[in-house]
């Protein structure tokens, strides 16, 4: 029965071919524009290891510098400790803060990252539009009752619609991350360095992209379910989704004010654990950028729990209120 509902929803999407075409054109256009963002920035020349300086020599210089540093210079101490602990030097890393600008010799990184950044931001309107199309509009204009009248079970109908929404988001995230990975295929192992609380951490570019796509998916699903529930509960179709979008927009601005530059390009050390929860909407992307950090796992788990709660709410509301 659920398969019949999924097929039904896909046919309905296909029947609105021009809407589908418009959405795809919008996504492709927006992503093409966003992937050109790096062109507007200056080119950064990555620091190269000076000729004749061996890594072992550099590490011994770090050790000496560490002993000479004043204990108040915590940041420098943390950085040197990080290099010594990981047996790496400063020339093996790119700066995460400069990720959207060109690194000479590795321009594809900036294009690839800008692309997935744009795709992540577009996940928000995509999730909201899916919620509108699958749940809000059919429940407001009554077509959901026609579907129920055709003998389909309420639970199967809801589950089928949720599966279609989730699948669309999953497909979108998979395409986005695939394009990003292909664009940066020669530099996927490039290490990036970023400050983390009182220390430093690093990640390869490939893992950064993968974590980003996971964050996109979690965020997208959250926005899809939240806008569906709020859209059904509130009297006007567009009221719920508009509120969700406005809250996201404000939180996004606020989080970027709190953390200088763009929150998730910058340094997570600037954001406390508490802040991650207080500014929930936009920080799902922040969390996904640094997905290998402790906070991300917790924040993502909270989002997933919240999403599961909203899905249950949607089921209960539609059942009890006879939407």
């Amino acid at each position: 029965m659920i398969i019949r509902v999924v097929r039904h929803e896909l046919k309905l999407v296909w029947s609105r071919f021009w809407v589908l075409l418009l959405v795809v054109a919008f996504l492709v256009g927006a992503l093409t524009l966003l992937s050109h963002i790096p062109d507007f920035y200056e080119t950064i020349v990555a620091e190269a290891r000076p000729d004749g300086v061996a890594k072992a020599e550099l590490l011994s210089q770090y050790r000496a510098a560490l002993e000479a540093l004043d204990p108040s210079e915590k940041s420098k101490i943390a950085l040197l400790n990080f290099f010594l602990k990981t047996n790496t030097d400063q020339f093996e890393y790119f700066e995460l803060a400069n990720i959207t600008t060109h690194y000479l010799g590795a321009e594809s990184l900036a294009t690839s990252y800008s692309f997935i950044e744009g795709a992540a931001l577009l996940t928000v309107p995509l999730g909201i539009v899916l919620g509108l199309l699958l749940f809000v509009i059919p429940s407001k204009n009554g077509s959901i009752q026609m579907e129920l009248s055709s003998g389909i079970k309420r639970s199967s109908l809801l589950l089928g619609k949720i599966i279609v929404g989730f699948s669309a988001l999953l497909l979108y995230c998979l395409i986005s991350v695939s394009v990003s990975l292909i664009a940066a295929k020669d530099n996927l192992n490039q290490l990036f360095l970023f400050a983390y609380r009182d220390g430093y951490a690093s990640a390869t570019f490939g893992s950064l992209l993968c974590m980003k796509s996971l964050g996109m998916l979690t965020g997208g699903v959250f926005f899809f379910v939240a806008s569906s529930l709020l859209g059904i509960v509130l009297p006007r179709s567009y009221l719920g989704p508009s509120i969700i979008f406005a809250v996201f927009f404000l939180c996004f601005l606020f989080s970027n004010v709190k953390a200088p530059k763009w929150g998730y390009y910058g340094e997570p050390s600037g954001l406390s654990f508490k802040t991650l929860f207080l500014i929930p909407f936009s920080n799902i992307f922040l969390a996904s950028n640094f997905g290998f950090l402790d906070e991300s796992a917790i924040v993502s788990a909270v989002y997933l729990l919240l999403t599961a709660g909203l899905v249950s709410g949607l089921f209960v509301y539609i059942k009890k209120a006879n939407v």
């Binding site: 309905l12 026609m146 129920l148 009248s149 003998g151």
Partner: protein
């Protein structure tokens, strides 16, 4: 036979239906009459499974209703809510497939029975109100409904459209479908109904299983006092 036994429904503290019981024989057309707010629509929603009652039972041939299985119930409340961007045929075909159907001929035949065969490739948004209601009746035929509930089916229709709907309803009853028509345009019902039920303030005040030929409109005015005259 359909039996409605002791149905009670409350919205917050307000009792909308109070211990409503009646029976409708298979293949009969039954009128459900009452003023606005008497509880007609709520009763139809309960009978179609859209609203759950606080208490009471719905029986079909002595067995409780299992919504989604048997009896197949079609319920039209106000205007049908088909997909406006699809044609009449595509609407029925899509919903037929959703219910597991595979034979397009069923749709063609249903549309022919309601006189929409020539209009089946016109978009639903271009249909007149009468055609929209007829398409819903085609939907009921397509679903092979045992019970068809129609809430105010003549509202907003011109006399020709009313006549057409009445013809289809009579035809459906001849095919063994049971039809419950809720309306306050009682005169329109007099020539087609077999049974009649009057409902007022959530209670049944008149129940006649052989109402054919009865001047229901006159009777209704005598039995149901106008607002302000009740005391």
């Amino acid at each position: 036979m359909f039996e409605i036994k002791g149905i009670t429904k409350k919205y917050w503290r307000k009792t909308v239906l109070d211990n409503v019981s009646f029976e409708v024989d298979k293949g009969k057309i039954c009128a459900l009459c009452g003023v606005n707010g008497a509880g007609k629509t709520t009763l139809l929603k309960i009978m179609s499974g859209l609203v759950a009652p606080k208490s009471g039972m719905l029986l079909f041939n002595g067995e409780p209703f299992v919504f989604g299985e048997r009896p197949v119930v079609s319920c039209l409340i106000e205007e049908p809510k088909f997909y406006p961007h699809l044609t009449g045929f595509d609407n029925l075909w899509l919903l037929y497939q959703l219910s597991g159907g595979k034979d397009k001929e069923v749709i063609h035949s249903a549309m022919e029975k309601v006189g929409l065969k020539a209009k089946e490739n016109i978009k639903y948004s271009k249909y007149s109100l009468g055609m929209k209601k007829r398409l819903y009746l085609a939907f009921s035929i397509m679903r092979d409904s045992d019970l068809i509930l129609l809430d105010e089916p003549f509202n907003g229709l011109d006399p020709l459209a009313v006549k057409k709907i009445k013809e289809i309803v009579v035809d459906l009853s001849k095919q063994g479908k049971t039809i419950l028509l809720s309306s306050h345009m009682i005169v329109e019902l007099e020539d087609i109904v077999d049974a009649a039920i009057f409902i007022d303030h959530g209670k049944i005040i008149y129940n006649n299983k052989n109402a054919s030929g009865t001047e229901l409109h006159k009777l209704f005015l005598e039995m149901v006092p106008a607002e302000g005259e009740a005391e």
